[in-house]
Amino acid sequence: MVMLFWILLVTLPSVANAVAPTAKDAVELILRSQKKVNSAGDPICANCVVIPNSRDKDDSDPVCDDLFEAACMKGPNEKQAKANHFPRIEVQSAIKKGRELAAKAMGYLSVEDAVRNRLREEGFDLKDSLSPNFIGLMTGEGSLPMDEFTSVVADFENCQTSEKRLENISIDPLASPEKLQEILDMYESYVAARKERLIAILAKDIPSYFSGLKSKCDNLTRLQKNAETSLDSFENEVCSQLPQHRRTAVDLFRNEDGPGKHERSENFVRSTFIPANVSPVWSSKNQTVNAIEKAKRNLLINYGCNAAMSKTNGAIGNIISNLLAELSLAKPTVDSVLDAIYSENRKQKVESIFRNARREVTGIVSSFIQDKTKRDSIISGYEKMEMSWIEKPPSNSYTKNRFRTLTLDSSKEKLDLTYDLSIYALFNDSSLSYFTTENAFYTPAITMARSSVKERISFFPATLMQMDENPNETFMIIAHELSHKVGPRVIALHGIDLTAECLDLMECFRSPESIRMRADQEDETIADSIAAESLARHLLKVPLNKRRAQLTDSIEFFCRHDEKVGSGLSFLTTHPENSLRVSGIFGANPSLRSALGCAKESLRFKSCGISSVKLGAGK
């Protein structure tokens, strides 16, 4: 037994390095380990190294021991469901409602009716039944399985039926010349029809067509240089005049909506289309049989259903995307979406949270930065800082489109970089992703060319709407974004150097006992650390028995967007992993632990916080 104690004592320093327990914790671990070995009662295991479980359920405190585990791993399915549904559903129904109204204002029965009509105008007929997610899938929100695609687009069903019929014709070299000629004619006329169809499809997307033509010419020229092939006269003519063809393509693109667009684009494609080379076939002594075989190959390589299918998929996707962007820019959609998100009630609520968070962050920064000049400059910046808020565009931002429906007009809008993009750009997106994606960011004051940007915090609408359900999370996000102002890299943009002030804190987070912060994660770590201190101050104002629940609510954002929980955005490199952020920065923050009544030191991570580290120079 004494031997076992010594083994454990020798083993413990390495464990200690990993978890940095206090002396009291170390004694507890030894006792727990001894207890485990004793209870195992296995003499063979007398020399085993027992790795102590620091979170024995009998005496552990989940929130204090491992905040991420306690907050995020309980009911991950529920959190995943939340991440996938709220508040996207609310925004998506506002988008749907607005687009339906816009489609009606443009004279269609519904959005689906508009899609069918627009595709019909472009030469694609859809069958009666569409899967509910057809429109979404065709505009890039995933991929529509090919069998579903072919069954929906009438053209492909006909194409496949005809191709199968041709394949089933048996070619008997001993058949009469008339019979063989009849088969050859059938093939050639079918190939000619498919070629025309392909030309019509390619003409719908001139940028992609020209890009493909250029690649083809570049490839042919390279092969010719290496003497691997020689260009025939048509290929030579098309490729040698590529600059002229580019001018024609650009002209067609600029007048895409002009009269006779289809005919002009198709003529251009017809005059420049270079099919893949199909070598002659010498499999039979009968020339007609060889000609049929060659036509077969030509069909397969250049004009078959499969060859045209992906191009059609792209063309249909573009047509639907353009239509959806057109519907999104219409006033009914703009009004519906902005009304659903930017209500007066929500504005007052978020501004109140913003003011509270700013007060806490300013208080922490004031105590953290001792140099008066730096401190005054930063505090005055905080006082002027705003939250971006989208107001409805004034009526003179709209113009009537060809359906006599009011639609946003980019030429009437002055760019306001408050939202990084203009309102027109946010709505000129078939997926309206700005309104359905969760994100928030801090933007420093920047002057770029003739534009200047005010320092601000921006919330994507989905993040803003999350506030209805969980205002504590909104507080944490705002505190985090506000704290970015004093991140070492960001503050340098304002001409202030806080390297010395942040030195000790950075060292602490870099250490292996903490989160092993990398150099590119400094700004995010500082922002989290100050947000944790702000949260601690905030929690001190609520009764002790409510603080833990409020803390787990505050950090729910990390749970929703963590891969371990099974959902959401991962922030990739500049942010430390979510479990480290939650347990290593928030969970080990001394002020937060004190507010919760946890033991001073976290079991898993070294305590790093503004109040726990020795402040660096510059005091």
Partner: protein
């Protein structure tokens, strides 16, 4: 020794397979927090495209694409380049770089001041980002 040679040869073949050049077809890049974030489509073997996200020094994230998805993305990127280059509104005098898009040999810096190109580019970026992170 025979086994050692076999082992060495196997390693050699594996390493040459890895060394095979990968064709990068199209890409969209943007600056975020001083770092370049890059989404691109590459073709490791013929007709097997994959979408790659890379940033800073971290290892790139990859997701395989169907040919139809790759064509669709290519078509969207192409359109953004052409709108940005050939449909620039006359009023746009300054350019705040929003993203840079490259399709084959053509590339374009999409200006935030050009909403006709910046809107779709922004939407595409959000979708590409979500395609790596949202599990349904």
């Amino acid at each position: 020794m025979k086994y050692l040679n076999f082992f060495t040869m196997t390693l050699f073949f594996i390493s040459t397979a890895w060394a095979k050049p990968i064709t990068i077809l199209n890409e969209i890049t943007f600056q975020n927090g001083g770092e370049t974030h890059r989404f691109f489509i590459q073709e490791k073997t013929l007709n097997h495209p994959e979408l790659v996200f890379s940033t800073g020094k971290s290892s790139p994230k990859k997701r395989s694409l169907s040919l139809a998805e790759a064509r669709r993305l290519e078509s969207e990127l192409n359109r953004i380049v052409w709108v940005s280059e050939f449909r620039k509104p006359a009023g746009v005098v300054s350019c705040t770089s929003h993203v840079t898009v490259r399709v084959g040999p053509s590339s374009s810096k999409v200006c935030a001041e050009n909403p006709q190109a910046a809107g779709p580019a922004f939407g595409l970026l959000n979708r590409l980002r979500a395609s790596f992170t949202v599990r349904k």
